[in-house]
């Protein structure tokens, strides 16, 4: 069975600073990986996904993530954050060729301060 660990529950940063949100996963088979964002009082929205191919994945709003199979990680990065990036971010994993269910991490709350 898969599991996802988001190493930081809260990350405060200043506007225009870079940010990295960390995600590690555990699985005995190949996986697909996702990052979702949840703005206050809204549902989840897909930021980016890794299914195959290049390990560097670019998503919406200037975010990118790198799949590192040897370290079983899928960290999310942005070189310069805005106040509007304040939200909760969820990493999720699914087994390739298996059930389409997603297993989610517990989330990282990103707060961007002026």
């Amino acid at each position: 069975a898969q599991s996802v660990t988001q190493l930081d529950s809260q990350v405060p940063v200043f506007e225009e600073a870079p940010v990295e949100l960390r995600c590690n996963y555990s699985s005995s088979v190949s996986v697909y990986l996702f990052w979702y964002v949840q703005y206050p009082n809204q549902g989840l929205q897909l930021l980016l996904k890794y299914l195959s191919g290049s390990t560097l994945v670019k998503g919406i709003n200037g975010f990118e993530a790198e799949f590192n199979k040897s370290q079983t990680s899928f960290h999310l990065r942005k070189p310069s954050v805005h106040i509007s990036d304040t939200a909760e971010y969820f990493c999720a994993v699914s087994e390739t060729g298996g059930s389409e269910k997603l297993v989610f991490g517990k989330g990282t709350k990103l707060t961007v301060n002026p």
Binding site: F34, G43, K101
Partner: protein, 112 residues
């Protein structure tokens, strides 16, 4: 754009009431899911459905049931609401060809 709608954004019910949460998607997706979201616990899967009239238990099905009579609609039922079911409930849909899930805006349920 895929649209997933949920019948209520906010709902207040009393202990013991039967509660229905409705979810509708407009993209002919095969798979639909119900999650609950609690602070510090992330999203936990309650039930999912791969097709009409088909359902499978997720990680926390106790106290819940579901119904899928039409492909576009997936209902979550709390037979007898309890205070520990106060939570945010999120519905999602997913085509069988892709692993990406599309989420509704959520229903914040309070049971008093």
């Amino acid at each position: 754009d895929v649209k997933v709608t949920q019948s209520s954004r906010y709902l207040v019910k009393r202990t013991g009431e039967k509660v229905f949460l409705e979810c509708v998607q407009d993209m002919d997706h095969e798979n639909m899911f119900w999650y609950r979201q609690d602070p510090g616990l992330g999203l936990r899967l309650i039930y999912f459905s791969y097709d009409v009239k088909m359902k499978e238990k997720g990680d926390i099905p106790e106290g819940y049931s579901v119904s899928r009579e039409k492909k576009e609609r997936f209902s979550l039922i709390l037979e007898s609401a309890s205070t520990n079911q106060t939570s945010m409930y999120l519905c999602a849909s997913q085509t069988g060809l892709s692993y990406e899930q599309y989420f509704g805006p959520g229903t914040r349920l309070t049971v008093t």
